[in-house]
């Protein structure tokens, strides 16, 4: 059922089709949906740590979107680079993991088996390791434990 207030609402009427201004350098957008991003998030986070922190410090200076466009482009290029690296070596494992996340309400705790394959593949290919900041050090991290319930 359509909400009466939105009966004649057309989404395309609200989109501004103007292209970006010409003085800005072109940058590809990531163009990925949520599940692959969530699957790759820890590796994006470790690979692009400097760019991300630089960008967030810049945003802390000034919330104007114009102020941090340069840092933002670096962040986006780094994220695209990380995703392409993952797909170059571990495409099948990556696909299995984000398909699982898509089917399990993006719950990382219910996709441990595909995640294990992805983490092993990335470790052998690039030496990347998933690390949770601030986790207790006297026991294994949550993605290395056996879940209490499946």
């Amino acid at each position: 059922m359509v909400n009466p207030g939105y009966k004649n609402f057309k989404g395309e009427d609200w989109v501004d089709p103007t292209p970006p201004p010409a003085h800005l350098p072109l940058v590809d957008e990531v163009g990925s949906t949520g599940a692959p991003l969530k699957s790759a998030s820890f590796f994006i986070g470790t690979l692009c740590k400097e760019y991300n922190e630089d960008f967030m410090l810049c945003k802390n200076e000034n919330r104007n979107p114009e102020h941090c466009l340069l840092e933002g482009r670096k962040v986006t290029r780094c994220a695209i680079d990380a995703l392409q690296k993952i797909q170059s070596k571990c495409q099948d494992e990556f696909r299995a993991h984000w398909k699982c996340l898509d089917g399990k309400n993006q719950d990382l705790g219910r996709c441990r088996n595909p995640e294990k394959g992805l983490n092993e593949c990335l470790f052998t290919a690039f030496g990347w390791k998933k690390d949770l900041p601030g986790a207790p050090t006297n026991k294994p991290q949550i993605h290395e434990r056996t879940p209490l319930t499946s």
Binding site: N8, D13, W14, V15, D16, P17, T18, P19, P20, P21, L24, V27, E29, V30, L37, K38, S41, F42, I44, G45, C48, Y51, N52, F55, M56, K59, N62, R63, N64, P65, E66, H67, C68, L69, E71, G72, R73, V75, T76, A79, L108, G109, L132, P133, G134, A135, Q141, I142, H143, R145, P147, L148
Partner: protein
Amino acid sequence: MSDSAVPGQDMPPKGGFSSIRYERRLPKRGPSGVAMFAICGAVMGYGWYRLYLGLDERRELEREKIWSRIHLTPMLLAETDRDEYRRNHAAVEREREIMKDIPGWEAGKGVYNGNRYMPMVIANVPLHQRPGFKKE
């Protein structure tokens, strides 16, 4: 009536009455109180231990979820910032085009006195600035 002068008196049997068992003698059933207390404590202790494991797992899952979002935030924010800048820029250009005949008009001038950035509250889209546009 009897002839005897001394009436016969009821006396205990020779050697006295045998002793009466007046205390309860129930058969012994089940574990002792200390044992029940200990079993109860053990069961509850195991339950508390399992509860601790569950809470610990839940806290770590939450930490994992939050950090996966923290790692993605700069990327998503950068993307949104580029789009917001593009739309604001286009809106200012449209405003300049519409108000070009009015002398002294500053296109894109904020309504606030300060320099702090305030995001646009009302969506500024080209459709609403077309002449003759009427919202249904």
